[in-house]
Symmetry: C2
Subunit: 416 residues, 2 copies
């Protein structure tokens, strides 16, 4: 085909009129950080990537060939919005292991947890409605809630997760609260886990105030120390908890497959929203993962991940203890991918980041994780995606950069 | 892991408070029709499925193995929201064949055209903004526009697509119009194609009134008769056209991969919206399709599809001419998957559908495709997913059902 458009003019700079859901700025501070951190000389603890050397490539290849041979045409065709029944059956079995009795009619497949968060937000948030979140929390969830016009209220955490007195106060003060968004296990960015007692208390609060919980659990399966704690969904007698999880951390994030567990009347709405969003998730990939779970014990695979991540986390903790200056606080996660660091004093985190880049080491500054007032001197470290050697070297560099920044900050204070 | 929750009570029936974006009814009329039409005795022209016997399963299997062997870990890892560069490079080449010069920085991969429509709607529509559409049009686009609070205005079509005088009137009467949504080639549901002259005229109108066009082109490549017409995007001097297409009809819909071509400042926003929606589309599948396009000539594959669909459409047209009563109108598509039928007189389409089910044949009634006033007696026939034998038998049954419904309707009129 060949077309000519002789009248083609120079482009006029069109001014687009976006909806209020679109951020005014094209700035992507975290994207910029990841770009800087991506330089080959830099040891980056900034990303949140699972270790690719652990992806079960051979097993996935094997089951993919079986899918092509046995149900290729079906896997390549359109499918139902709620997702592949074989995959949903496997998820019901996984949920049972966590103490959550459910059925395939209560499970919908999504294109990863990000989509699960987006669909839930679209489904519940009218502009001005309140969403309560941990402070700090997953920054891309904040983006989604903002895009639907939510009023976001952050609740302080300690090592046992969200503080329940603060939570109840926030709920009481915001009668238009739609739901509490929480990552109870090895939270992003803090690595903290909510205690069983607080999970029970959170259920009492939502029952009393007639609101919902969005329980986002991408990391719960990656527990390498301590005892399992049942999901909040386990304590949910009134169907107020929408539970989300994903294959991103336990199998492979490139596949973009997650799941939602919720009450059946909610499932009808989720299916309608999903249909409008992308009809259904990749059907070939759903078939592949269903078959992987039928033929292999995914917990064997997860145990491999845990062993590696536990070692990396231990190496990182030991290095932090040795190389960070006294007074720096950090979380002690029993699983997941992240450690949270708080440097005391009024440290400018961006300045610390810049110093780190000079020392060829990187992290994600705390700022984008905060829904409102930012705690200075905070940042997130990832331990899943670096070798033990790199972790040792990187933390040494980070320790030097922190010391340098603190001493400069002290000298600035004395000069003033 | 084993948990016990002794205090577990009977579930209380929770009343959920949804956002205004959620349809109040759980009814899914089209879903119900497809369910009825799915009975094994029924010849169904209701769906919109590509012919699965044409999916290039062996070629896809071959390139999938190559992806696992050569870049498996990369394909299984997180990736960029805008999509795989190799796949975007292939799309730039395809667009060039259609006369659209673009770059990979102007192309974003989506999880199918449905997501492209959803992201565009979220990006542009504030509640109350007008979206102008063809009447009738793709029903799931209507669902999306409604979910963001759009005021939808339908413009009448004839065999050359949207009537331009009516379009200009609609634009002039609705100064808050954000964009025109159009499917210019082998439109769903009518099978009609917009003439080149009208495409040029549409560009003049949007330039004059300072609005946008969302050009949805899933079927354009499946032209089996007549001459190609350049996309509206080809005439777009002021970057007002957002062009969408998909691999669903030319390769396989189960893969859920589509693309968006737009001006680069728009791409920044699309990338932000995409990140919030599902981070990125399935990376494994993007690698597979990129490799398929690099190793195979996808146009060879599309030519196979065209040959089969042309024969099926010809068989359907011949059968319609033979078996439908005089006076029934129908479109004469030169490509795509659908024929549109208009039975004259004030026929109740649902009654006709019920009669058809008794005759073991099915279609999709026109109603859900209309944004406002419905033309009675209209319905959509799909010819891509049935054998020639089934088409002949099905159309004969359909002819009988129409005759029966018309004669009953006439006798009812005479009785009154």
């Amino acid at each position: 085909m060949k077309f000519n458009n002789q009248s083609r003019k120079e482009c006029i700079n069109m001014t687009y009129q976006f909806s209020t859901r679109v951020p005014a700025s094209d700035e992507d501070p975290v994207g910029n950080i990841l770009k800087v951190a991506g330089s080959p000389d830099i040891i980056s603890f900034a990303g949140g990537l699972p270790a690719p050397e652990l992806f079960p490539v051979d097993a996935l290849k094997k089951v993919t060939n079986e899918v092509y041979d046995e149900s290729g045409r079906q896997a390549l065709q359109y499918s139902a919005a709620i997702g592949d029944p074989a995959l949903r059956t496997q998820i019901v079995k996984r949920m049972a292991k966590q103490g959550v009795d459910t059925t395939i009619d209560n499970v919908m497949i999504s294109t990863g947890s990000q989509q699960s968060i987006d669909l839930t937000a679209k489904m519940f948030i009218n502009p001005g409605d309140t969403v309560i979140v941990e402070k700090p929390t997953y920054l891309c969830a904040l983006d989604v809630f903002r895009s639907y016009g939510a009023h976001i209220v952050g609740v302080e955490m300690d090592e046992d997760g969200m503080k329940m007195d603060d939570l109840e106060k926030a709920v009481a003060e915001n009668p238009n609260t739609k739901f509490i968004y929480t990552i109870p296990n090895f939270q992003n960015p803090t690595g903290r886990t909510m205690s069983a007692e607080r999970r029970r208390r959170m259920i009492q609060i939502v029952d009393q105030y007639d609101i919902m919980i969005l329980e986002d659990d991408p990391y719960g399966a990656i527990r390498f120390a301590g005892d399992d704690i049942a999901p909040i969904k386990f304590y949910d007698d009134q169907d107020r908890v929408i539970y989300l999880s994903t294959f991103s951390k336990i199998l492979a994030p490139g596949l973009r497959l997650g799941w939602i567990v919720a009450e059946q009347s909610l499932m009808k709405k989720f299916t309608l929203m999903k249909q409008s969003a992308d009809v259904h998730s990749d059907n070939l990939t759903q078939h592949i993962v269903a078959r992987f779970m039928a033929e292999y014990d995914i917990d064997d695979h997860i145990n491999k991940i845990k062993r590696v991540y536990r070692k990396r986390e231990n190496v990182m903790m030991t290095a932090i203890e040795a190389d960070f200056p006294k007074g720096v606080n950090y979380s002690h996660p029993e699983g997941g991918l992240f450690i949270w660091v708080e440097v005391p004093g009024n440290i400018d985190t961006q300045e610390l980041f810049n110093t780190c880049i000079k020392h060829n080491v990187a992290f994600v500054p705390g700022e984008p994780f905060y829904p409102d007032a930012v705690t200075p001197g905070t940042f997130r470290l990832n331990f899943s995606n670096m070798s033990e050697e790199q972790i040792k070297t990187g933390i040494k560099r980070l320790g030097s950069a922190i010391k340098e920044t603190i001493s400069e900050s002290v000298s600035e204070v004395s000069e003033n």
